[in-house]
Structure formats: C-alpha cells, structure tokens
C-alpha cells in the first residue's frame, strides 16, 4: 500500500484545448454574478434598496455616537465623512462575509464538475460590487447636496476600487478555502470584520492615530483604501501615498499567500463537501 504525502501525489493531465479556458471562465463568472444578483433580491420587498439602507443605517448610528463622543472629522461634515468611508468598508465587509460560505453553498456543483473554484469567491466580490455602485449613487447625491468640489483626482477612483476589490478577494479567498475544511473560520468572520472596522479609520480620521503607532496601523490595507476614498472624493486630493503604498504591498502579499493556499486546498474540496 503506497504512502501519501504532499510531495508525491497523483497526477491529472487533461490536454483539452486551452484556448476556450478564458471565455469559459468569464461566461461562468457572469452567470454566477447574474444568479447571485437576481436571486438575492427576488423575494424581498425592498430589493435593491437594501444596498442603500445598510451603509445609511450604519452612518446614522455613527452620527448618533458622535453626539456623545467628540470625534474629529478633518473639517468635513461628519455625515459625509463617515459615509465616504462606509461605502468601501461595507463593500469589503459584505464581500468577505459572502465569500466565506461560497464554496459550501455551491457544494453540489463543485462535487460534480471540474471548475476553476476561484470563480465562486470572485463572483461574490463582483456581485457585491453592484451594491457598491448603488451605494455610490447615494454618496454622489450627498456630495452634490453639500456642494463638495470634485476635480481630476477622481481619476484615482478606479485604482482604489481595484485595490479595494483585491483586498476583499484575497481575504475572502482565504476564508472560503479554510472555512470549507473548518467551519470555525466562517463563524469567526463577523468578529474579524468587527475588529477590522475598529482598526480602520471609518468612524475617526487617520490623523487621530498616534504618530508612533501609525506605521503598524498602516499594515491594515483598508487604511489606504478608506483614506484614499476620502481624499479623492471629499478633499479633491490624490490619496495619501504612504498608506496607499502600504496597502498595495500588503494586498500583494495577502494575495500571494491566499491564492496558492486556496489552489492547493481546492483540489480536495470535493472530498470534504
């Protein structure tokens, strides 16, 4: 009876024409996104309004909190200050928590057909991007109401959105991969997201963080993203370079860890589902 270990395992070779691989991947991704979007709100009365409501309610809560505690907001109306940060934050939080069980909910498909499994967490992230877009409409409306000047710095927005999606995808990938084997990772996600919210400048500005802690603080890639959104949207400035660079590097490292881990775990998904 042969012994098994990581370094000496079976080989599976399929010499199918690889030219169709990418069209297939995108067709699958779009089908999954369409499924997620249409089925998510089909039997709810408020439907897409939930995409507005969620950050709106959080914003009102924070606003109430500010009534008790003095939180500086860099001279920007607090409603706007918090909502500009809540929009990317809600996106990351929602995509990570929907990524977590994405493998388990698609178990029936994964058990039966060979697919690039990354597509399931990725579809969650892309579907959440639609909610983000809806939330952005509200944000734009608020900016118009307060008469916030906008400039060419808006061109940074695509970069920030890609970075934000990459953060969400890499964390979501890791949680969905590990969570398939141990549910603990999925149960821990809400706590993780809460802790993450407190170490991200959503409620308070980056400037309140003590100088000595700042470098450690910026290890959180969401600092660069959130501060970037604020600068670009509310101050008509380019994002602060130091947190942005940190965020890009950390996200790169996260992705470099999450992807191979997910890949090697994914070949055993069908065994444990």
């Amino acid at each position: 009876m042969p012994t098994t270990d990581f370094w000496n395992r079976g080989v599976y070779v399929n010499t199918s024409p690889s030219a169709r691989r990418w069209p297939r991947f995108f067709s699958l991704l779009s089908a999954l996104v369409v499924r997620d979007l249409t089925s998510r709100y089909r039997r709810s009365s408020l439907g897409m309004w939930w995409a507005f409501l969620q950050p709106l309610i959080l914003m009102l809560l924070f606003n109430m909190l500010r009534g008790f505690v003095n939180i500086p907001s860099d001279g920007i109306p607090y409603v706007l200050f918090s909502y500009a940060a809540l929009t990317p934050w809600t996106f990351v939080s929602n995509s990570v928590s929907s990524c977590g069980p994405s493998i388990i909910t698609n178990a029936e498909v994964i058990k039966k057909i060979a697919l690039p499994r990354e597509v399931f967490p990725l579809a969650c992230v892309v579907a959440t991007l639609f909610d983000f877009a809806v939330s952005c409409i509200l944000l734009a409306g608020m900016m118009a109401w307060f008469g916030v000047p906008v400039g060419l710095s808006l061109l940074w927005l695509p970069v920030l959105i890609v970075l934000m999606a990459a953060v969400a995808f890499s964390v979501g990938l890791l949680i969905s991969g590990l969570g398939t084997f141990r549910k603990d990772f999925i149960f821990a996600t809400p706590f993780l997201m809460q802790a993450w919210l407190f170490v991200t400048p959503v409620i308070y500005p980056l400037s309140t963080v003590p100088e000595s802690w700042r470098l450690l603080y910026m290890m959180n890639p969401m600092v660069g993203v959130v501060e970037g959104f604020r600068n670009v949207l509310l101050k008509a400035e380019p994002p602060p370079m130091e947190p942005l660079a940190c965020a890009v590097v950390i996200t790169g490292i996260l992705l470099a860890i999450a992807w191979p881990v997910f890949r090697s775990l994914s070949s055993y998904f069908a065994d444990v589902l």
Binding site: P2, T4, D5, V11, S16, P17, A31, V109, I110, A114
Partner: protein, 421 residues
C-alpha cells in the same frame, strides 16, 4: 490539441489510487500519532480506506464503456477522478480532449430563477461560452419540452421537470469524453428514449462514453465494453455482457454468503438431529454453483432418535428475495420407507432444474406423517447459486420460442393468438 501518444487512446489511467480527504504529510502524521499515543495509547491514526486501488485502464476513441459494481465499489469515485473533480492520491490520469461529466445534473439549479435563467447558469457551469449558450438555447428549450413552464421559477417544477432541464443542457454540450452516472432513470419513457438516442448520436460522432448505471439492461444495450469493479479494484474487463455476467455472479456469491451467515431458524424436538447438508451434481460432486438448466440434488445427513412409521421430509428452495420457488414433500413424490432409529442420508434429486440465475437457500423439515408432528425444521440449511450467461431473467427458466406473424389488414384471424411453446 496534442495528438495522443498511442493510437486513439483518449483516457489513460496508470496505477491510480484514491483516498478521500486532505492528505496529511508523513511528518505531520507521525508527530500527530506520537502525540495521540502518549495521550491514550491508541493505535496509529489511519487515513481512512482506499476508494480506488491500483486501477489501470485505457479507453479508446469512440468506445462506450459500462462500469458495473456493487455499492461502494468505487465506480463514482473513478468518474469523479476522471472528471477532475477530485485529485488522484497516487498514480497518473491522462485525458486527451474535452471531458464532460453528466452526474446528477440538476444539482446546480437555483430555485428562485426561471427555467431559462437556470439553463443559462447550467450551461455556463458546464463550460459553454456566452455565444454558445445563446445559440443553443432554442435547441435546449425544445429538448426539455417544458413549453410555458420554461419561464416560470424552478421551485414550481416537478422533480421530473427539474431533471429534464439539467439533461436538456447536458446533451447539448459537445465533448470528446462523456461521463454518465445514473442519469437514465429520469423522466418518462419517451424522455429516456430521447436521451438514449442523443447518447448514441454523440457516440456516432466519435465521442467516448463512460457510464455507470444500476440498470444492467441499459448497460448491456448501450455499452459495448464492460468493466467490473469491486472494493476499489477493476476485477474484470470484457464485453458488456461478460462484465454484467461477472457482476451477477459476484452478487449471487455475496447473497449466498449472506444467506449462509443468516442465523438459522430452527424448530427442534431433539427427536431428530440434522448434521450436514450439501448440493450435489450428476456425478455426486458437491456444488456451490449450479449451471442454469442442469439437474442437481440436495443431500441431508441426519439421525432419527425415535422410530417413525411414516417419515415425511420436505425441502423448499427460496430465492434471495425470500420467494418460495419450489417445495416438495417426500410422501407425495413416492418415498414410503419406514424409519427406525439410526443415521440416514436423504437425497432429493431435481432432474428438471427450472430455477433462473440467482442465489437460493434451502429449507428442510422432518415430520411424522401419522401425527403431522414436526421433529426438526431448519430454514437456511444450505445455499447455492444458479449461474448462466443468458440475458433472460425472471424466476423460472426454460425455452421460449418466438414467432413474428404479419397480419393482413382487414383480414384478421378470428381464432385468437397463435399457440407457441
């Protein structure tokens, strides 16, 4: 696409072993075992059983291969490994061309979406690009025969309709190798025939088909080559009929074993003791398998502790489903010897064996014909299998002569159906 190395081999499996679960590196397992042993001196942790053991197989282009085997023999695991759903633990699997598994296809459906939306989703899951999906959608709609239901939410469908939806998409996917696991049983007869026709079409266009089905009938008619699996190993290959026959022998043997191990149901008065029993053939040799249609006998060794003026013996033969196929009493068949105390052999000979292939068990009883008292009764005394190579099935065997008689319209024979043997 690179050309296969040897002529037309599309699937090549070389020394394939498969064990489910995440493989733990050797070092980690040793440390883990050490830690466990120190805690509760248990034996070293095993990784679980092997689902496939040393499978070697080559399948050529255009072949239709049926895989048979009992539950847990590794058939579905083999298909899963071939489909690339799960990785081989050891060995090498090579597939030249596109492979497509048709395994319980309605699994990926979303209940909130309509049939049409689900077809788009399923087609994408099965590997069609967006243009292909749109061009095939009318064909699929046609094949599923759902008409106005096609645009209603899938949660309102019946199970047959659900299955048709999945199958409708699957048969419209073009592939070089097709894996089929138990999908024929969906829908009504008309739909089943349609599916079979589609599979034949795919085969004729050069596709290779591998199918697992518990319907031996389907396998025999659809597949040309057969593979028998047992406990993770391929134990026989050949024509589909050969594989099915080998499979049935395996089942009969297993049933026979089960019958042997079943607790014997005994009524005893200690006035007779049964020592042993066997099945024997024409030359008196002991048999465990009787070829279909050949004569055989049952022999029982026993002792009478009370003299009987009119001893009466009865032997019953039951099949694996517990149906009494044959029951005979010695008195009726002309045995009228008195039985003083002593040791005897009783033989029942069946010159005409009408038992069909299968596993059987023997019930035996000794009675006193004057008082109808039962001295000893034993259920499951001995078991045997009847084996044969024909496809004919049922409870009894025997010849059947067929005739096809054309009837002239407006000139029907009035004297009923033709008498045939």
């Amino acid at each position: 696409m690179s050309e296969p190395m040897s002529d037309d081999v599309v699937v090549k499996i070389d020394g394939l072993w498969k064990r489910y679960g995440l493989p733990v590196p050797e070092v980690v397992r040793k440390v883990w075992n050490l830690a466990r042993r120190s805690k509760n001196s248990g034996r070293p942790e095993d990784d679980g059983p092997w689902a496939l053991k040393e499978v070697n197989l080559e399948i050529r282009r255009g072949e239709t291969v049926g895989i048979v085997g009992r539950n847990g023999a590794g058939k579905s695991t083999l298909l899963k490994v071939l489909a690339g759903v799960t990785t081989p633990t050891r060995g090498r699997v090579e597939i030249y061309g596109r492979i497509f598994p048709m395994i319980e296809l309605n699994a990926g459906l979303n209940m909130e979406l309509t049939g049409r939306e689900n077809v788009r989703l399923l087609a994408a899951v099965m590997g069609l690009s967006r243009e292909e999906i749109e061009s095939k959608l009318p064909d699929i709609e046609d094949f599923t025969e759902l008409s106005e239901w096609f645009d209603r939410p899938v949660r309102t469908y019946s199970s047959g309709m659900l299955a048709r939806l999945g199958f409708g998409v699957a048969v419209n996917v073009e592939s070089d190798v097709i894996l089929i696991d138990e999908t024929f049983s969906v829908g009504d007869l008309k739909f089943q025939n349609k599916s079979l026709a589609r599979i034949r079409e795919m085969r004729e266009s050069g596709a290779t088909v591998l199918l697992v089905s518990h319907s031996l009938e389907t396998l025999q008619f659809v597949a040309r080559r057969g593979i028998l699996m047992e406990q993770g190993k391929v134990i026989a290959t050949g024509s589909s009929l050969e594989a099915v026959t080998a499979y049935e022998r395996l089942v009969f043997r297993a049933e026979q074993e089960r019958l042997e191990h079943r607790a014997k149901n005994r009524i005893s008065t200690q006035e007779a003791n049964i020592y042993s029993a066997r099945i024997f053939g024409g030359n008196g040799e002991t048999l465990t398998e009787v070829p279909v249609g050949t004569s055989f006998g049952i022999e029982v060794e026993f002792r009478l502790n009370r003299p009987l003026l009119r001893p009466m013996f009865s032997a019953g033969i039951l099949n694996a489903q517990g149906i009494l196929c044959k029951w005979n009493i010695s008195e009726e068949d002309g045995l009228a010897e008195p039985g003083p105390c002593g040791r005897y052999l009783i033989r029942a000979w069946y010159p005409e064996n009408h038992l069909m292939c299968g596993a059987y068990e023997v019930h035996f009883a000794v009675r006193d014909a004057t008082s109808f008292e039962t001295l000893e009764r034993l259920a499951g005394l001995v078991s045997f299998a009847v084996i044969g190579d024909n496809r004919a099935r049922g409870i009894v065997c025997g010849d059947c002569q067929w005739e096809l008689i054309p009837i002239e319209e407006n000139d029907r024979p009035s004297d009923g159906p033709e008498q045939t043997g």
